[in-house]
Symmetry: C2
Subunit: 198 residues, 2 copies
């Protein structure tokens, strides 16, 4: 078999996925070859459509199929309380807990000087713009309980001091070291319930 036949190409491409090594990628490629052609077509189409069909919400910076996203576009949700998260996946985790009926703001990361990520690399300015519009009464900081998440929460708390906005932080319920994306929903619900003043 030549070094760049379609099988090798597919193996190499599938091995780009995080956590998928060469061997697993080869196994997936062989599996595709044994399926009906529609399987490959449907998977390829979904991958293409994913990148083309999702966009960043111009209000909360969440990634969704529409702008504004379903949460920002839902008039029944409380505009006075905004939950600030690191990643779009965290929105889904908090929604699954059913404990929050406000809006969100996605930072797309956390402050991490070691990785060269400062406040300007995050969606902090649009968050301040939302606060300046005056509707926001409380910000719930739901960044991860790790060094970067804590640093980001402290930075935001300092930044918002004197604006009159109540700043709280998710606290009890999420064990230290667990990323919010992977926390179980009752822990997320508890954390929301017990949020504390920063």
């Amino acid at each position: 078999m030549s070094t760049d036949d379609p099988l090798r190409q597919a193996t190499r491409q599938l091995a780009r996925f995080p956590g998928i090594g060469e061997r697993t990628a080869a196994r997936l490629a062989w599996w595709l070859l044994r399926q009906a052609p529609e399987v490959s077509e449907e998977i390829a189409a979904a991958i293409l459509h994913l990148r083309q069909g999702m966009t960043e919400c111009s209000r909360c910076a969440n990634i969704a199929a529409a702008d504004p996203c379903p949460t920002c576009g839902d008039p029944s949700r409380d505009t006075g309380i905004v939950c600030v998260v690191e990643r779009p996946q965290d929105v889904a985790a908090i929604e699954a807990s059913g404990a929050f009926r406000g809006r969100y703001h996605v930072l797309h990361g956390a402050i991490s000087p070691l990785d060269g990520i400062g406040p300007d690399a995050l969606r902090i300015r649009p968050l301040l713009a939302r606060v300046e519009q005056g509707e926001v009464k409380e910000l719930v900081l739901a960044t991860d309980p790790d060094v970067e998440g804590d640093a980001t929460a402290l930075y935001l708390a300092a930044l918002l001091k004197g604006t009159g906005v109540r700043v709280t932080r998710l606290a009890h319920g999420i064990s230290v070291g667990t990323e919010i994306e992977y926390a179980d929903k009752s822990s997320v619900a508890r954390a929301m319930e017990h949020r504390r003043e920063v």
Copy 2:
């Protein structure tokens, strides 16, 4: 987020891969969203091209980018000895050993009455046709050392009795580098059964 937005669709499609659950699929989909659009495009193209670009060799039934496959098309290889394997992947494993310079024949499975797989479901007839052409002097049966692989080897050996073709089977025993203490008991049993004069 609606239940069938592009993210959910991609997650569902990626979860069709064997060994990839819903959570891993979601993680891969989010990873794709964070990459440049070219990453999704290249992976999708490789998946599509894989199914369109690979074909079954009309001589040995191996899956390759060309027909005849590179092995069948290589005039330097011995046409007198044919290694019979269950899967195309087995060809790659034997090639990697560097110990074989003959041709191959891929059965695409093994006889398994419990799964309803009889001899007619395998590429046995084209193998017999190759034998009847008279060039084959030896068949090395390299089916798996399990119930189905053994049954398939026995079936082929019986079928080829009287044709004058030498029929051999890959030696099974303790794998090189395995300490006897840690070898599985059926490998030890085979090794004992097939012991050789030193």
